[in-house]
Each structure stands twice: as structure tokens, then as C-alpha cells.
Amino acid sequence: MIPQNVGVINETKSKLAVKIGGIAMKNPVATASGTFGFGSEYAPYIDLNQLGALVVKGITLQPRAGNPTPRLVETAAGVLNSIGLQNPGVERFIGELLPGLACFDLPVIVNIAGDTVQDYGRLAARLDRVSGVAGLEVNISCPNVKKGGMQFGSDPDMAAEVTRAVKAGTDKTVIVKLSPNVTSIEAVAEKVASAGADALSMINTLLGMAIDVKSRRPVLGNVLGGLSGPAVKPVAVRAVWQVYRETGLPIIGMGGIITAEDAIEFILAGATAIAVGTANFVNPQATMDVLSGIKQYIIENDVQDINELVGAAHR
């Protein structure tokens, strides 16, 4: 019996393989930047090797202390955060954190953020030389940092400029992460695509805030924050749907994925891979539960290759 089972599992495995630019993922399930630390935090709960890809917390050139607290507040079926890109900087990331991931058999994607176009170019060039980095996810959309973030992501031309700078700095796969806080996400996607992006990921958080009626003050230390979690899923699925129609680039879809059904919704909308974010907080095994649910779905629905499902809702 055992060899048979293994056969089934291996078969399912190969049915699940997807590609994001030059990154081969053994399955479509990635982690969303900033929700999964640098991977090791979740190693006690899941086998990281089972993940399709690991996307680490946003990295900047210099270390950042992050925003004042509170940095997180729960909202209806969602979470507002304003971490403010707290991170040890690219050098300490490369020197101290990345080596720990070398023992795992999975592509590591580094999420990068900068205050200037040059920052992005430099980060790309710095990481280009580093083995163990499969690709870069370019955060042009983080709404928490006053300089940079918001502006790059909300202007198609600026977004394209950042993309070009990153592409110029690296031969690794470049994934540009789009913000939903724009009038036309398709317009940003198109410009970013023409600027040479290999793939897109979406969505970053929605700009939001909460006020405490007792203190009559904003809850978050930083006043504004980014909304994530199930609450935003309809917006995220819509964004993937729209951008899939406009560009031919592979998409990593995210925003409120809790279950395998949520993940499949994104795939049907046009995502080649998906990322699990806020759900990790609720259930540290969420990525694995999503993965096994996807396996079940493709078996039950007799899907030969997960890539058949990508964008299937358009047809």
C-alpha cells in the first residue's frame, strides 16, 4: 500500500508545480511578506520545506526601528497594522538571517522597500550577488512609511521607474507588489509590466484607520495603517481579476486568504501562486491547511495541472 500512496502524493505534487518568472515553486502556496517573519518563527509549527516559496519581511538598506506602538488593531474580519518596516537592514539580513534558511529546500523571495529609486536599485544590486535568494518582491506599496512606499505605488510612472531600477540591478526574478490604494491598478500593472517586471504580486494592505471612542484618539501609534485579512478579500480578488486581463505576467495573489477555497478563488481570478498572510496569526499551520485543501480540490475535481485553473473564471 505504501508505495501506491507515495505515488499519488508525488503525482499530486507535480500537478501543483507553478512558475513565477524564473522561480520554480513546487506548489502555489507562498507566505505574505511581514506576516511570516524570516521563516524560522514558524518552523516549530510547519515543515517549511512544504511551502511553495518563502517571502520574508520587508528589508531596507539601513536598519529601521519601526513605528511607535500600538502597531496593530483588530477590525471586523481584519487587522490594521503599522509596523513601519522594522527590520535589521540588508547587511544583517544577509549576514545573520539568510544563512539559517539555507538548510531549507524552498525558494526564498526577499521583499525590499526604499525611500528613493536609488535605494531600490542598490538593494537589488546588493542582493543580486547573494545565493539563496530566488527573487525580489518589490514593495512599492507599503502605506506605512511616509517617504517612499505610498508614492511609488500610487503613481504608474514612479512604479515603472522603481521597476527599471530594480531590473537594472539584478538578474533574479523581479516581482512587483502592487497597492490597492489606487484609482486604476491595471494602469500601474501595465506600466510596471512594460518596465520589465517578471511577475506581480497583489494586494498590499488597504489604507485604513481606527479611532478609540474612549480616548478619542487614533488607535495606532502611526495614526494610519494597512488593512489586511478576510475583510479585504473581495478587493484583492477583484484586483487580480482586473490585472490578469490586462497583463500577461504571472501573479502572486493575496489578501484575506484563510482557506483553500479562498486560495482557489484567487487562482481562478488569475493568480498563478498565492500568499497566506494574516491567516498565519490565526492559525500557524494555515499555509499547510491551504495546501492540503488545494490538493484535495484538484483531486476531487480531477484537475490535471493546477495551471489549468489559473484565470479559469475568465473563460
Partner: protein
């Protein structure tokens, strides 16, 4: 560190709004150290979405049981209080860094404000196992909120109550009361204002002290950086530490109060 659907053995309302829940969670009971917490899923729906951190209040290793002592302050804790014996509640943990157990024979004090006794009770259980008798300064708004003083005495410790309204013990602030009865090391938990003044007292008299802090949490496992708390190291470098990972227990000297 693990995730369990723990069976509820008991759910008690100690006084209105203050509950103690006892869970069957053998692994957690075995591994728990005083000061650590469980990250509790209070509802199965998407609203409320996040887990709630609650300190481990007491442990019965033989029975494989863990108790939490909590105050109903919002939706999550209200939903937890609605759960009954026989229901299951999903918990993640034990998480975080607990109190450092005292060594040697210096005097040990414990200072608790209100619900702050929650984790300290477990600490006192463990102290009595290693035969250390502590002076326990219990502060509360009023007499009936001086929790578990009988149980603490039964563990072999001395209880010094203080109430804001003078209905029992010292009439006034529990930190003041402690300042009049200093010891070599002190362990504190309670509202932020109280901990702040406890840390000041600790620094002023240059004694050893640890406090357990609270911050809003996302993941509980160190991944999201939402539970930041400003700390300073011995070289005077400031940084944000994670209450869930580097804490919730910090030395009084580390914590930067703003």
C-alpha cells in the same frame, strides 16, 4: 510550543467579570514556565479574528491541566467566558519568555496589581516547589478584587494586601507598600502605570526586578513585529523588542517607559 484543541475542564466566575478557565492540555502543562502565555482562539468565526494572549495562571502537571485567569474586557474575553465545560478551545503555546526563577537565598517579593496576579500565581506555585517563600504585595481597587490571597498563603507565602479604597490592608498604592518593604528581588505584573512606578522603585533602590508587559499581539510567535515594546540594552542602545518573543517578562532595567 504547540497548537491544541483543549478541552475545558472548568469555567468559574470568581467574581463578576473575572473568570478562571481550566483546560486539559498535557503538553502545555508539562512545558509551561511561569510568565509564559497561551494564545487563545476565543471564537471559530472570522470575527473576532485574532487570538488573545492570556498568561498561564496555574498548572497541574499531574492532571495535565492549565488554568487561565482573565478579566472580561471586550469581545474576545466575553466569548471565552461563554464557553462551557466540555467545549473545546484552541490554544497555541506556551509562548514567550517567562520569569527567571530566583536562585540563592535573597528575599523575594511579588507585586501584583489587579488581574496582574494571573501569571504571578503560577510563579508562586513554582517558588513554593523550590521552597522559596515570597512576600506577596497584592494591590486592588477594592477588597473583593484581592484575588487568591488564601491560596497564596496556602502555598506558604506572605500576603500584604493594599486597596485603593482602603477596604482591606494598606490604604493606597501597592507599589508604595512594597517600597516600604523592599527585598532583594521583585517580580511584578499589573497595569502599565503601576509597572512604571514599580520599575522606578526598582531602579531607585538598585534591586533586581522583572515585570511582565502587555502589548497588542498578532502572531504571538515573533513573526509580525506588532507587539513591540521599547527597550534599552546595557550599552544604552534603544530598540523595539517583541513582547511575545523577548518578553512578556523583561528586566526592569530594559523597559523604556515613554
Amino acid at each position: 510550543m504547540l497548537i491544541t484543541d483543549a478541552l475545558i475542564i472548568k469555567q468559574e466566575e470568581i467574581i463578576p467579570g473575572f473568570h478562571r478557565i481550566t483546560l486539559s492540555a498535557g503538553e502545555a502543562a508539562k512545558n509551561a514556565r511561569p510568565g509564559q502565555f497561551l494564545h487563545v482562539r476565543c471564537a471559530d468565526t472570522l470575527d473576532p479574528l485574532l487570538r488573545r494572549p492570556i498568561s498561564i495562571h496555574a498548572v497541574d502537571r499531574e492532571k495535565g491541566e492549565v488554568s487561565l485567569f482573565y478579566r472580561v474586557v471586550g469581545r474576545g474575553t466575553a466569548l471565552l467566558a461563554d464557553r462551557e465545560k466540555g467545549d473545546r478551545v484552541n490554544v497555541l503555546g506556551p509562548l514567550g519568555k517567562g520569569f527567571t526563577m530566583p536562585e540563592g537565598n535573597g528575599g523575594v517579593a511579588v507585586v501584583a496589581g489587579g488581574i496582574g496576579i494571573a501569571p504571578l500565581y503560577f510563579f508562586l506555585q513554582e517558588l513554593s516547589v523550590i521552597k522559596i517563600c515570597a512576600n506577596v504585595f497584592l494591590g486592588a481597587a477594592t477588597k473583593k478584587q484581592l484575588f487568591f490571597s488564601g491560596g497564596i498563603e496556602a502555598l506558604g507565602h506572605n500576603v500584604f494586601p493594599a486597596t485603593d479604597d482602603g477596604t482591606a490592608g494598606y490604604y493606597g498604592n501597592v507599589v508604595e507598600l512594597f517600597a516600604q518593604n523592599l527585598s532583594d528581588s521583585v517580580y511584578g505584573c499589573g497595569p502599565a502605570g503601576m509597572l512604571r512606578s514599580l520599575c522606578q522603585t526598582i531602579k531607585k533602590y538598585n534591586i533586581r526586578g522583572e515585570v511582565s508587559l502587555e502589548e497588542r499581539m498578532g502572531c504571538g510567535v515573533g513573526a509580525c513585529l506588532s507587539c513591540a515594546c521599547k527597550t534599552v540594552d546595557e550599552e544604552g542602545n534603544y530598540r523595539y523588542s517583541r513582547v511575545c518573543a523577548e518578553g512578556p517578562v523583561f528586566t526592569a532595567g530594559e523597559v523604556v517607559w515613554e
